[in-house]
Subunit: 297 residues, 2 copies
């Protein structure tokens, strides 16, 4: 057993995860789920955190995620791209508390090709973890995908985030499934070819607006029994993820997926069908990133 | 005042409109809204219709819309493309009732470029009306758009529907506004440049999946106050309608919009910004189409 060196807190909008970790970001102990950073009222975060961490030795605390948002505990303003470990560490906020200094990682902002702003908060730390996990044999340059409700595609150059775009894939899928005419036709998903057919449909799209037609085709494929009800959700998932990969990869043929194993597996499968080899990173990238931040401070 | 010649019923999923009409499809009298064809139980339609029409003289009844769906009153199966007045009239269903024979227009089906089925029901009759309104100076060939929850883009060649695609634009907008993180940021729409900016954003999209990023950008434009809350819904509307027009028009530079004046006006404005001249058809195309069907039977 290695020595505990710090406490890492991955504190998102609706989730709280804390780890007692060694200097390399290996978890020695972990806490079950807790209250999300935006579920607490202003002023409640410090007391809540102290209560959660009471059973562990007092060690430096490093946190990332929406806890650093304006509506979170204390705002750690966004760092502009290009941003790597040095820039993110420099913008990390030190908050004096009864637990000692708590350090909160900043988010990162970028402009997309159309000049519209884009942001991440929490993903930058996962990305630092992914870069660290990449080992000492390279600078980690390349394309990273962070699947989720609001999925990020990130480009890393010279070890720094040079740009990224957020895709609303996960939430678009969720609202269509729960609130549209499509969801009413869907039965619980079973193994079957629906996901693969959705990915293939994504490949066949020509214009951006064709996606709005392909989404509707989920319904007609169901009506005409070209797809069984238990494959309709899978089809829609494959269609949206496939379209996202083809746009997000921007022609890259390799990418690394950072996130939950189950969701990453969908990206690996869809990528393989579209000529984009997606390799999953370790699952605990947030903690690895906090360990990297700690060493850089 | 002209003589009443027939009763036209535009009976959709959730709406019922009936007209006492002359032979040219001009409304002499109209009934207020009633129960949708899918809101009634099997077996209720005839009695409901008889009650609604009781105050008018007994005349031949011509109906279109979801009343002819499998889940409606009586199924009038879909006609395959190419389908014009002759084919649609030939597939019109005659239902003997206490009101005399009620004639129900069929829907039309097509295959999209990917081989997926697509359907319309009700829109085929509006389209026949649009073609009739086009006057005697042409065959009405061209591109038609029927805006709505599930918007149709229809190609007419030699006076017949040669193909069409449905876009889920209206419903995607509605579920994102009502159920996603985007809607929570939106204030009631005001006049402003939001719609035009959304249309311009649609023009800048390259790959189909970029639409999933541009949808998310609605959020970041709001977060960074690049758009005021009362323009966010307008922006999303412009983005989706713009993307739809660029895909649905398939390179055509002229189209005719059939549908409500308010929604058609959005398509006219967006089309003008995208190099597609969209002219609105008369609003009562369904009744004009039923009049055309009556003459063809």
């Amino acid at each position: 057993v290695t020595d505990p060196a710090f406490i890492g807190v991955d504190w998102g909008t609706t989730s709280f995860r804390a780890y007692l970790a060694d200097a390399e970001g290996r978890a020695i102990d972990a806490l079950a789920e807790g209250e999300g950073a935006l579920a607490l009222k202003p002023g409640e975060h410090e007391l809540y955190l102290a209560g959660r961490l009471a059973k562990w030795p007092r060690l430096p605390v490093f946190a990332c995620g929406m806890v650093g948002a304006k509506q979170g505990w204390r705002e750690a303003p966004y760092v502009a791209c290009p941003a790597g470990l040095v820039e993110i560490a420099a913008a990390t906020l030190s908050v004096p508390t009864s637990l000692g200094v708590v350090r909160i990682a900043p988010g990162v902002r970028a402009l997309d090709a159309a000049g519209a702003p884009d942001v991440m908060r929490g993903e930058e730390t996962q990305l630092l973890g992914g870069l660290a996990a990449d080992g000492g044999d390279g600078d980690g340059d390349g394309v990273y995908v962070l699947p989720g409700t609001h999925c990020k595609w990130v480009r890393v150059e010279n070890g720094r985030i040079s740009g990224f775009e957020t895709f609303m894939t996960g939430e678009v899928f969720a609202v269509l499934k729960s609130h549209s005419v499509l969801g009413r036709m869907m039965a619980p998903a079973q193994d079957g070819g629906g996901f693969a057919r959705g990915v293939e449909a994504a490949r066949g799209l020509a214009r951006p607006g064709d996606l709005l037609h392909a989404i509707f085709a989920t319904r007609t494929l169901g009506l005409f029994e070209a797809l069984p009800p238990d494959q309709l959700g899978e089809y829609l998932s494959g269609l949206l993820i496939g379209a996202e990969i083809l746009a997000g990869a921007r022609g890259a043929v390799r990418a690394t997926a950072i996130g939950s194993a189950a969701l990453s597996a969908r990206y690996v499968e869809a990528g393989a069908r579209l000529g984009v080899t997606i390799a999953p990173a370790p699952e605990n990238c947030a903690l690895l990133g906090l360990a990297a931040l700690r060493k850089a401070l």
